[in-house]
């Protein structure tokens, strides 16, 4: 299936979970990371069970330097 992952089109296997997607992005440690799907924040406790579907837009943010 196709996803828009942090603004880029990515092809991932059907049935991928949020942790799978984070692994694709290269996150080994997910502390301090937040994930939203189609504009809705997905709580960490729901990452494993969340069903990602074709065409979804996923944002992954974390803390960086900023005033």
């Amino acid at each position: 299936m196709n996803l828009k992952l942090n603004g880029e089109q990515r092809r991932v296997e059907a049935g991928s979970s949020i942790p799978d997607v984070l692994a694709i992005l290269g996150f080994e440690v997910t502390r301090g990371v937040a994930v939203a799907v189609d504009g809705e924040v997905i709580p960490r406790s729901g990452w494993d069970s969340f069903l990602i579907r074709d065409g979804m837009q996923i944002e992954v943010l974390r803390a960086v330097q900023g005033g």
């Binding site: 942090n6 603004g7 992005l25 290269g26 996150f27 080994e28 502390r31 301090g32 990371v33 937040a34 994930v35 939203a36 504009g39 924040v41 709580p43 960490r44 944002e59 992954v60 943010l61 974390r62 803390a63 960086v64 330097q65 900023g66 005033g67």
Partner: protein, 260 residues
């Protein structure tokens, strides 16, 4: 007993809030942070390459500081609310430095969007610290919707122009029922001192330290500047006069021989 800064029930020993933007490295940032004695430190939320080295959270936590995420870069209430929710989920804090800006040239706050975002976030249980204009009415409105503090600018972000409108700031301070944190515009130590002398409860300092030639040294200067200004405020300054007022006694003067 000196009064301490208190925001939303949290007592702070330091009246300096540390902004982390603009440092050339996490090492310099960490060294500067320690010099300021700050207990609350801002971060931004961004898409980021997970391979990028170093963790800002580790540096902040090893310094024993609280994290204050911001919504920098947001132009609408909706974007700021989304960013705040992401920050809460990522960092496990209800605290948010709310920024909603109007354009990228001035980075001045967009009042209507800011107020709308503040209202929503307060309703959702956030502790909202809004970066606002030096507008006494908007500051009051933000307080009325439940913001835990108001953070008026001295001048535009990163401008280093100091406090351009101390008169408006004085009105904000007079009317405020919540702490007032001067945010943005501080360029050097004297600006921070002036803010504190005027009666601000705290200052937020970022670029003036991070972009100084020697950030660690400027961090030391800022710590002292904030403390000096606060002490002077508590001590109560003398009134300004147009003419002199002698400090030596006028009684007991000798009769000078003016003929010789």
């Amino acid at each position: 007993m000196r009064e301490k800064l208190q925001i939303a029930g949290r007592v702070f020993q330091s009246r300096l809030i540390f902004g982390t933007g603009g440092f050339t490295s996490l090492k310099v940032m960490g060294d500067a942070l320690k010099q300021t004695g700050a207990e609350m430190v801002t971060v931004a939320m961004r898409r980021v390459d997970p391979m990028a080295g170093g963790s800002i959270l580790e540096v902040i936590e090893s310094a024993g500081c609280d994290i204050l995420p911001n919504t920098a870069g947001c132009y609408t209430a909706a974007d700021a609310v989304f960013t705040a929710r992401m920050a809460r989920e990522a960092l496990g804090t209800e605290w948010i430095k709310l920024e909603v800006i109007g354009d990228d040239k001035t980075l001045l706050p967009d009042g209507p969007e800011l107020l709308a975002a503040a209202e929503t976030l307060v309703d959702e249980g956030f502790i909202v610290l809004p970066y606002t204009n030096d507008d006494p009415i908007l500051a009051k409105r933000l307080e009325q919707v439940g913001c835990a503090a108001v953070m008026p600018l001295g001048s535009p972000i990163g401008s280093g122009a100091g406090i351009r409108n101390p008169y408006n700031l004085a009105i904000i301070l007079e009317n405020a029922g919540v702490p007032v944190v001067l945010d943005a515009g501080i360029g050097t130590a004297s600006h921070a001192t002036i803010a504190m002398e005027l009666g601000c409860d705290a200052v937020l300092v970022a670029s003036s330290i991070s972009r100084a030639k020697d950030p660690v040294r400027m961090a030391m200067a800022m710590k002292m500047a904030v403390e000096s200004g606060r002490l002077a405020h508590e001590a109560g300054r003398i009134p300004q006069r147009l003419y002199a007022e002698a400090s030596s006694p006028t009684e007991g003067m000798p009769e000078y021989n003016r003929d010789g």
